[in-house]
Symmetry: C2
């Protein structure tokens, strides 16, 4: 793996969809009692063995719920199911099991960088533990049964988040999307569905879950992610030497200048500044070694994470001031420490 990949292969996410035999899918549950029964069944095995905590969706504060969504541990849809839903989340906040979302179980592992196999192993381990005390709805022909047919079979969605500024700025993203969809994979912009202009962040994942093995899915997504990364590398060379060179450098340096001097900073603007600062670091214009530390910063500066570190619920205006102060100091240090 080349050195450029650190900031490019941002994170890996593996998700398994499972359902319990003998129970209707979550959208057809009889009553709250039946939902709670499923929650109890699922959590009984896991809760004891591992460092997991059970969150009932009718028991979390709005603040907690928003923080969990922000960190991708639960979906907004789960919250809406209030009395019917719960989530098991580990202490490191990289493993979660949503209960009674679209399926009875949505098991998920998120890890930094490209590590599909490791993430799959981790979540498989959880899946096995739960499977010891529960019988999953499984068909010899079809595999795991899911509420939506797009998840049938393996119930596996393997995703990689990629930072692709050069492909985006050189206007080649459309072509990449086209090639990838021919392979049965999908790419979508993480910020601003489809356009992907802001943040230069894209998620590549498998479309097909049926008729392929877990191993095949993971191999394919891994291979494609690495190929896109190599293409991005080539496109960065073009960006550094092409006619838009000074404009790109200017864009990166201005983002650094604003981020290190602003007094008010929204989380949306931070996403866009961070992307240009990362690009500047990747192209060698900014002396920042660990590009991925900027991703951590963006995540730490999301509204509810700020509330958490401030120890109280700040107003939006207060957060923008807090964020500007924190970000400017942090980025200055990152650029010094090289």
């Amino acid at each position: 793996m080349s050195s450029i990949s650190e900031g490019t292969l941002v994170s890996t996410r593996i998700r398994l969809a499972r359902n319990l035999e003998g129970y209707p899918f979550p959208s057809h549950l009889k009553d709250e009692k039946q939902a709670k029964e499923i929650i109890r069944l699922v959590s009984s095995g896991l809760n004891r063995l591992d460092d997991f905590r059970l969150y009932y969706m009718d028991g979390v504060t709005e603040w907690e719920a928003d923080a969990l969504i922000e960190n991708h541990m639960i979906s907004p849809a789960l919250i809406e199911k209030k009395h019917y839903a719960a989530a098991l989340i580990n202490g490191d906040r990289n493993l979660s099991v949503m209960i009674n979302e679209e399926d009875h179980l949505r098991e998920q592992c998120i890890i930094k960088g490209l590590c599909l196999r490791r993430a799959y192993d981790k979540i498989s381990d959880i899946d096995s533990k739960i499977g010891r005390t529960i019988k999953f709805a499984y068909d010899e022909q079809l595999g795991y049964l899911t509420a939506c047919p797009t998840n049938l079979g393996t119930g596996l969605r393997a995703s990689v988040m990629l930072f692709l500024p050069a492909i985006t700025l050189n206007d080649n993203m459309r072509e990449v999307v086209r090639s990838i969809s021919r392979l049965g994979l999908t790419v979508r912009g993480v910020y601003g569905e489809g356009s992907g202009a802001e943040g230069y962040m894209y998620q590549v994942s498998n479309e097909v879950t049926l008729g392929v093995t877990e191993e095949e899915i993971i191999s394919q997504v891994d291979e494609v992610a690495r190929k896109i990364c190599t293409l991005e590398e080539a496109e960065r060379m073009r960006l550094k030497t092409g006619s838009a060179r000074m404009g790109v450098m200017d864009k990166c340096m201005r983002a650094y200048g604003i981020a290190t001097n602003c007094v008010v900073l929204s989380s949306e603007e931070l996403i866009s500044l961070a992307a240009d600062i990362k690009l500047g670091a990747c192209l060698g214009y900014l002396p920042i070694e660990h590009v991925s530390s900027i991703d951590d910063l963006v995540s730490r500066m999301q509204p509810h994470n700020i509330n958490q570190s401030a120890g109280r619920q700040l107003s939006a205006d207060e957060r923008d001031v807090y964020r500007a102060d924190y970000v400017s100091n942090h980025i200055k240090k990152l650029a010094e420490h090289k």
Copy 2:
């Protein structure tokens, strides 16, 4: 004069309109020969005595002409009169006499800061020297005769350039313009006629030239400029303590961040960044002591002044890169040296 005035009272300009007796006004000159005769008459006395150089408008290169316009030594209208027009300009480039523009003579002195009397004395001295060998068109009743009746009488236009960010941002400029016009003076935005939003620069000058003495005009413009300066000072206190406080600080700090990091910078953007940096310095957000040095920087970074210091005619793109580099180094130094 308060300490705040340094960057606020930017510059002083005195202009006298004069015409020669026995010659038609420039727009009615018989031929080139007659125009050249006037040029010779005017320049004969001055050229020898002082550090003045005569520029024939049909003799300057386009490059020279643009540089002279940029530094306010001549008007664009003068260039257009090619074979008919000339200008006498001193070595320090603060005194100029345009010959055969709208009037036979337009004598002008520009000095930094508020110093109407000194500027008037300087240009009066030139006026007297020229008057020794030439008879000016003068009427006992009306005073100096001019091509346009708005200059009749004294032929004097006394102007002060003011930097008024707080009055502008607090949205009180309209009220200032109204009060001043009641006194027979005018205010206009220096960049973007009327709006004055960009650069926060305004020029205050006398409207009336007839029926008042030179002394009265100068006293009045001086007094009004000082009053506006005091008002600006009060408005800055409001800006520092009011609800828009953080937004204003953010604006200033971002301008500093961009100016000290950009790689490409147009002269229009520099005007706007420089204005916010000056404001930041005036409000104590940026450790820059000599605010007026930023005005010098803006002037030095105008297109033709850049060509001059680079020693060759740069393309617009090259200038934007040169400007970004020069400005970022210079502003960093200004903020360090305090």
